[in-house]
């Protein structure tokens, strides 16, 4: 499921609900995007974390913000790989440690930027909820509140 929630500062804000199996099908939406990836509740194996990393790097999002109770392991997967194999197009990757969904989305929308040299490629914000469905619903409603100005 994907939906255009609205716009923030002239950029599209997309919300995508997916899972590990269908993740491949949403990759096009990550092109030219700063991405919020929520994996709350997912028990990702090393193989699954590596698969997500490889799939995402294939479309070179501008920035990836990872959130989830096991998000730190996925973050390390990205950071250590990109440290070892730097890419010509720099991708910023960091974590969101806000427990509250509204605060997490607000911080994402208000403070996430692409790397300086890739600014002109920035077309959209993309929130991808892969984990817990209650969390996904909270992220979606937070997104709506923020984009439609509360």
């Amino acid at each position: 499921m994907s939906a255009l929630i609205g716009h923030y500062l002239d950029r599209d804000v997309l919300f995508v609900r997916t899972n590990l199996e269908d993740f491949e099908n949403i990759l096009d939406m990550l092109v030219g995007a700063v991405v919020f990836l929520d994996v709350t509740g997912l028990m990702l194996s090393e193989i699954e974390a590596n698969r997500i990393k490889s799939q995402m790097l294939r479309v070179s999002p501008l920035t990836i913000v990872i959130r989830g109770d096991r998000g730190d392991a996925l973050l390390d997967t990205f950071l250590l790989y990109l440290g070892k194999y730097p890419r010509p197009e720099f991708i910023m990757v960091y974590s969101s440690t806000y427990e509250d969904e509204f605060e997490a989305i607000e911080a994402f929308i208000l403070a996430t930027i692409p790397p300086t040299e890739r600014w002109d490629s920035w077309k959209q914000y993309c929130i991808v909820a892969m984990g817990d469905s209650v969390v996904a619903n909270a992220l979606m409603s937070s997104c709506l509140r923020i984009v439609t100005n509360r």
Binding site: L79, G83, M92, T97, L110, I113
Partner: protein
């Protein structure tokens, strides 16, 4: 100091201020500082573990520039919380 700001972020902040007000600018600053602190800790962790730090260091540089730009913007506009 002014030369080290990012004009594209600055321009974005102007639009953000007009749309969401000064409170949102301070929220952006706090979030960027939080990200920076977490990444600085990652650099230290990876160095200690003998891992590759170039990726994290480049992100730190980007976020530091973002913070400098937001702080300059706040000062230029005379914003207060």
């Amino acid at each position: 100091m002014r030369g080290s700001i990012n004009p594209k972020i600055y321009s974005n902040l102007e639009t953000q201020l007009a749309k969401d007000g000064s409170k949102s600018i301070f929220k952006s600053l706090r979030s960027a500082k939080k990200t920076l602190a977490e990444h600085v800790a990652k650099v230290a962790q990876y160095k200690k573990e003998g891992g590759y730090t170039s990726q994290v260091e480049s992100t730190v540089q980007n976020v530091e520039k973002q913070i400098r730009t937001i702080e300059t913007f706040i000062e230029d506009m005379g914003l207060t919380e």
